[in-house]
Subunit: 171 residues, 2 copies
DNA sequence: AATAATAATCAGGTATACCTAACAAAAACA
DNA sequence: TGTTTTTGTTAGGTATACCTGATTATTATT
C-alpha cells in the first residue's frame, strides 16, 4: 500500500531522469549515439557484442524484426564498417554477420561513456544504485523470458545475460 | 580513484537497464508512448504541462528547435487533439499553444505508468533510489543551466523544475 | 526428381524527427 | 510613413526505423 505510493514517486523521478538525460546530453552526437544503442542498427551491434557471427535470420528473430529490416540495417552497418557479411559455407543461403574490429570499438566506446551525473554519487550511493539496478535488471530478464515463453521469438536471454557487465569488467 | 571504477560499473548497469527497458516494454504501444515522451511531439507536451499557453516561438526556443519544426509538431498534436492553437489578441502574429483536457490526460497517463520492475524494490530500496535520483537530477539541472548560460537558448529550467514531481504529488 | 520450405534480396511504402529556403502578415522602429 | 524585425507558414528535403509483397537461391522433404 504505502509501497505503491513510493513506487509512484520513484516512477516520476525516473521519468524526470530520462527527460533530463535527453536534454543534458544534447551536446554533440553523444545523445544520438546513446539513443541509437537500443534500436535499429544499435540493437544489432549489441546483439553481436555478445554472440558474434550470426546469420541474419537469427538476428532478426532475436531482435524481433523482419528479415527485410534486418537486411537493411546490416547493410547500413556494413557501409559504416561496423559489421561484415560473409556467406556461410555449410548453407549457402545464409549470410553470417560479424562485428568488425571497428564495430567492437564502437560498442565499447559507446558503453564506456560514464555519464557525468554519476560523479555526484559517493561510494555508498553508487553501491546502492548498483544493487538496485541488479535487482531491477534481473526482474526484467525474468519478465522478458516469461513474456516470451510463448515461444515464437526467443528474445535475447543468452545475448543479454551480462553482456554489458562483461564488457565493463576490464576495470 | 576507486570511485571511478564504481562509476564505470554503474554506468554499465545503466546501459543494461536502458536496453532491458527497451526490450521489456516491447508490449503494445507502451514502449512508443514512453519513448515518445522525450522527443518531438512528446517534448512539447511535457513543456506545456508545466507552462501552458505558450507562443510557438517560445516553445521552439525552449526546446531548441526551429520554428518550422515546432509548427509541424504542434500541427500534429492538434490533429491528435492534444493541444489547441489560438491567435494571441495582443500580438496577432503569435499563435498560443495550449494543452487540451485530452492532452493533459495523455501526459498524466503516460507518466503515471509505474514500471513493473519497480515492484521488486522494497521500501528501503525505493527510498535509496529516490535519493539517488534526486541527487542525479539536481546535478543535471545544474549541468543544463551551465551549458546554457552561454545564452542563445534558455532551455527549460522553468519548465523543468519539478514538473514531474508536481504532477506526481497527487499521492 | 519434383515440390516445399527457408534465407535473403529488391522494390516500394509509411511514419517520425528534424532541417533549410522562401515568403506573408503583423509589429516595432527610425 | 517606410523599413526592419519578428512570428509563423508553405514547400521540399534528409535520415532513421520499420513494414509488406514479390522474387531468387538454396536446402529439405517426399
Amino acid at each position: 500500500m504505502t509501497n505503491l505510493i513510493n513506487q509512484g514517486k520513484t516512477a516520476g523521478k525516473l521519468v524526470e531522469f530520462s527527460m533530463l538525460q535527453n536534454i543534458a546530453e544534447d551536446d554533440a552526437q553523444h545523445k544520438n549515439d546513446y539513443k541509437m544503442l537500443f534500436q535499429g542498427q544499435g540493437k544489432i551491434l549489441l546483439a553481436l557484442s555478445d554472440d558474434d557471427n550470426l546469420p541474419q535470420k537469427v538476428l532478426a528473430d532475436r531482435l524481433n524484426m523482419t528479415p527485410q529490416s534486418m537486411a537493411e540495417f546490416v547493410r547500413k552497418l556494413e557501409k559504416r564498417d561496423l559489421v561484415s557479411r560473409k556467406k556461410s559455407v555449410d548453407d549457402k543461403r545464409v549470410t553470417i554477420v560479424s562485428l568488425t574490429d571497428n564495430g567492437r570499438l564502437e560498442i565499447e566506446k559507446r558503453m564506456q561513456v560514464i555519464p557525468k551525473y554519476l560523479r555526484v554519487l559517493n561510494d555508498e550511493e553508487l553501491s546502492q544504485l548498483n544493487n538496485i539496478l541488479d535487482k531491477i535488471n534481473e526482474q526484467m530478464y525474468l519478465d522478458i523470458k516469461n513474456a516470451d515463453s510463448t515461444l515464437h521469438n526467443k528474445y535475447h536471454q543468452l545475448m543479454l545475460n551480462h553482456v554489458l557487465t562483461k564488457i565493463h569488467t576490464n576495470d
